[in-house]
Symmetry: C2
Subunit: 326 residues, 2 copies
């Protein structure tokens, strides 16, 4: 997804928010674009491709909304930092998966090889912390570095569990927490830290809930496709050996699925497994859980610590996570 085609949930939030939110998002985009320029021609190509690839920008949007109208430069820096950590993770994940495309574009690893992709990821991660290093920024550094540790632990857990179809729901949820929900939580936390307003814990819980729902629906999308929408082939998780909730629940409904040797799959066999997962009805169960998570997140917004504008904007983001996949 490129920056010129902003996805619907983001558009809805931008339309509903005062002029401050689109203005601040534009500053974040400028800061992200400046990363490539600031580090010489050598880095430029690879990083520019990654940074320009855009994406949903959900995490920086959460930072800015958690920080609110009255926060300034510090919120913009925090939003940039969170997106840089996210990007670093994507670049390194693509190195591990040898992924050819992401968001319909060649990955850094496909363009420039493992070596450069590894260094580009390290650079983006280091730059993230540089963005936070302003007066009083140590609380944000503590928060984001902790989330970044969680991402690495999530990656380790995923690799550890690879190709193991006996993985249970609890283990899957733990991985989702480390790999996805923690950074959504962190986005909310660093945003609120930058503003100094109360409600950090409420927002953190909100971030965790929508982050988990986001991951559940992402895992459904890997099974359903279509590729034009996801920017990657169906069944990519299966091919990588990543056992997700759709498969875990499908195995309960169709135990024969648990006997399939994931290591041996090719693309067409993976798509056939996707079809078989879909036939069990497991996908509706996963979607239903995600929707429950979104409802729970929206109930958190009833708290007195939030303003009406915050309730509206954060509610739109929560809805957007579901709508994208409906």
């Amino acid at each position: 997804m490129t920056r010129s085609s902003v996805p619907p949930p983001v558009t809805a939030v931008m339309d509903a928010a005062g002029v401050w939110l689109p203005e601040r998002m534009a500053e974040v985009e400028e800061k992200l674009a400046a990363q490539a320029i600031g580090h010489g021609a050598r880095l430029g190509e690879e990083a520019e491709a990654t940074l320009a690839a855009g994406g949903k920008r959900l995490r920086p949007l959460l930072v800015l909304m958690a920080a609110g109208d009255s926060a300034g430069e510090r919120a913009v820096r925090a939003a940039t930092a969170v997106e840089l950590v996210h990007m670093a993770t994507l670049v390194h994940d693509d190195v591990l998966d040898g992924a050819p495309v992401r968001r319909g574009r060649p990955t850094v690893v496909a363009r420039s090889g493992r070596d450069r992709a590894l260094a580009v990821g390290d650079l983006l991660l280091s730059r993230a912390f540089a963005e936070l290093a302003v007066a009083g920024g140590e609380a944000e550094v503590a928060e984001l570095s902790s989330a970044s540790v969680a991402l690495a632990l999530g990656e380790l857990a995923q690799r550890h569990d690879a190709f193991d179809t006996s993985i249970g729901e609890r283990r899957y949820l733990e991985r989702c927490s480390l790999k996805t929900a923690r950074l959504f939580e962190s986005a909310c936390r660093v945003g609120r830290l930058a503003s100094g307003a109360p409600g950090t814990e409420e927002l953190a819980a909100f971030g965790r809930d929508i982050g988990l729902a986001f991951q559940l629906l992402d895992d459904v999308l890997d099974v359903t496709g279509p590729q034009e929408r996801t920017g990657k082939a169906r069944g990519t998780d299966l091919l990588d050996g990543t056992v997700t909730l759709p498969l875990i629940l499908a195995i309960r409904l169709d135990p024969g699925l648990g006997e399939i040797e994931l290591r041996g799959l090719d693309q067409s066999a993976a798509e056939a497994v996707c079809d078989r997962i879909a036939e069990t009805g497991a996908l509706d169960q996963v979607r239903s859980r995600a929707r429950k998570g979104i409802k729970r997140a929206k109930r958190i917004l009833d708290s007195d610590v939030f303003t009406d504008e915050e309730r509206e904007l954060l509610g739109l983001i929560a809805d957007g996570v579901v709508e994208r996949y409906s």
Copy 2:
């Protein structure tokens, strides 16, 4: 090199310093060891092996000496953070090189595969910044993240230049600056920041000089071996396509060396090239430059901003860089 066999320069400094320096280094070792424990059994094995492998600990030692006797916890955290950044780089470099051993032990990538090594490196890098995130630590974060960016740019430059025997001295020195001297400089800077004493720029220049000398001598050692001393096979740089100053200067003296196709070398051919480099006398030229750099570094210590103890201890470290290789 394991922690039980502390290398000579470190021993000399420890003997000369008051009890404060060994005590604080012990705290750094504890903090480094705690990284593995703090992140679960999954990480434990790989990280513990990396952390326990020890090494020279020159960088944290520089941090502590730059901070001085009166600095406390903040200096220990900064020293730990600098070593964590260094370790993250080693782990990621080994992924790229597919290096089987480092310091005579199996590398993380050899033990656990690329995937986990990549995640372990990300984790160590993220933990580095977490260590610095204490009250007022944002200046240290800014400094170390900038050094960490330099390391990634150095890695990109090295990969870009790989197997290119037309690389000149200037380009080589630029790479050394990014890959080695910058982190030595940063060690001095974050140490001094933690103490608040004057002399940061003098110490930064001192760090750059000894860092560059360190890299020059390391590149000599790759040509001379022996493996028992370096913990890796002779000619590893040649096999990786890394053109270093010994080869650059040797080509001037024996232009035929510039015609060798590095991509085609095997271990015994690489050792033969090492012998041919040594025969040109280029190694003495490189050693002589390194010694000049050390002299320049020690002249910086004449400045009034340093105490007699600082002059003595930092001078011992500077000498130690040369002695290790003499």
